[in-house]
Amino acid sequence: MNFPKDLQYTRTHEWIRYEGESAYIGITDYAQDQLGDLVFVNLPEVGDEVMAGEPFGDVESVKAVSDINAPVTGVVEEANEALADTPEAMNEDPYEAWLIKVGEISATVDLMDAEAYEAFVAEEG
């Protein structure tokens, strides 16, 4: 399992990568492995607000649906609409397949670095 060092992680298995004042958000390798083959993603629209610790969308595998929680409070600047046609990208390359880009960030949940998240996953698994 892969835990890139340049990302931060949530206890609900999202990753966040800051770029200037904005941040990209996606699901972790562990999350995609637990969910299995992903076939659908439901994303917010540009301009929607997301709240730290609250669901902003969901992904669905063949078997189940899973909420995706926002690591931060902010406003959606971009949504990765390409994932609608290629949800399997989240399985194949979860750290490239970002879901949303958020700006105007005002609050954050407790985030873990790669090492702490890896230990967290090991405990959970």
Binding site: G36, V39, F40, N42, V62, A84
Partner: protein, 362 residues
């Protein structure tokens, strides 16, 4: 109660199966291959399932046929040895206790396969209904079941079994079979919508047979498959699942199983209630989701601005590549082409009534 392990549990763990508890058993929901590839293997080549959790009950005695005709909605009067016949088993209110398959082994000797989740309930129910000279036994613990399913199933089975031992007709079985030298019931049945076999063997032979099948089927593309693919396969084939498309309140006719209810039989448990209820006011239909979202079970179905039914099963169809669901809706909305909406966690998603099954093999 602690979950039981099937005789193949270690095989699933060794193969990296993702183990979940289902109907009191620890079983793989999928292997590292993933549900979609497992599903497609069964549609295009072959898949191997551990279905040892299923229950097996024998009914023997001079009055066995008469008893089955009383117990079940289908008619068992005329059957060949080795023939299998599906039936709902109703309660006196016309709801369904379980659905099951009865095999005629020989005169006065029947073999019944029931759903894992219901086997204790079924056994108690069947025993409580016994009439005449009939002996009922739960033999589930003495049997392991492997399902070999897909267009290549026969080719693979032929490598381990003499050709004359393989039943040729769908819903027939050979009760004196051997596979790879192990005594086996070889049944041409399944829960996938494909050709295939269900092999009933002794638990101690199951692990060796599992390995031999996988070895011999490798060149045909045989892979082990989990419960996830079993569910998506049966859903595409529109095969009902107890607890979803039927339960102790949903009648067989509402579930679309009217052809397995022989109202012309003199009597059977539930007949009076089904007569009284008459034509069902709600029916099972197939839905193709045309909007964005995946319908799952227990979601409300709307049309003309009001609730007209509820989904009973739903998933993304790996073969058709769009979301499908089955639902029980008011009779007026069951025509193919009817436009409806499904409440997917607060969002109304467009869907259309389509013909069942969603998938039918050539």
């Amino acid at each position: 109660m602690e979950a039981k392990k099937t005789p193949l549990y270690e095989k699933h763990v060794q193969a990296g199966g993702k183990i979940v508890e289902f109907a009191g058993y620890l079983l793989p929901v999928q292997y590292p291959t993933g549900v979609i590839k497992e599903h497609m293997a069964v549609r295009t080549a072959c898949g191997l399932f551990d279905v040892s959790h299923m229950g097996e009950i024998t009914v023997k005695g001079k009055d066995a046929v008469r008893f089955l005709n009383h117990l079940l909605t289908n008619d068992y009067t005329v059957m060949e040895d080795g023939q299998a016949r599906y039936s709902p088993m109703c309660n006196p209110e016309g709801g369904v206790v379980d659905d099951l398959i009865v095999y005629k082994v020989q005169e006065d000797d029947y073999f019944i396969v029931v759903n894992a989740a219901n086997k204790d309930k079924d056994f108690a129910w069947i025993k409580a209904q016994v009439q005449g000279n009939v002996e009922v036994q739960d033999i589930s613990e003495t049997i392991a079941q492997l399902a070999l399913q897909g267009p290549k199933a026969e080719t693979i089975l032929k490598k381990l079994t003499a050709e004359d031992q393989i039943p040729t007709g769908y819903y027939t079985a050979n009760f004196q079979g051997t596979v790879a030298g192990f005594p086996a019931i070889i049944s041409r049945t399944g829960y996938t919508g494909e050709d295939g076999f269900e092999l009933y063997v002794s638990p101690e032979h199951a692990p060796a047979l599992w390995d031999l099948l996988l070895e011999n089927g490798a060149e045909e593309g045989l892979i082990p498959c989990g419960l996830g693919a079993r569910d998506t396969l049966r859903l595409e084939a529109a095969m009902p699942l107890y607890g979803h498309e039927m339960n102790d309140e949903i009648t067989p006719r509402t579930a679309g199983l009217g052809s397995f209810v022989k109202m012309k039989k003199e009597e059977f448990i539930g007949k009076e209630a089904l007569e009284r209820l008459g034509k069902p006011t709600e029916r099972r239909v197939g839905l193709k989701v045309t909007g964005k979202g995946i319908a799952r079970e227990h979601q409300d179905v709307y049309a003309d601005g009001r609730k007209i039914g509820v989904t009973t099963s739903g998933t993304h169809s790996p073969y058709l590549k769009y979301p499908i669901a089955m639902a029980i809706v008011e009779d007026a909305y069951r025509a193919v082409g009817t436009q409806v909406e499904v409440d997917v966690r607060g969002r109304r998603v467009a869907a259309e009534v389509v013909k069942l099954p969603f998938y039918k093999k050539d």
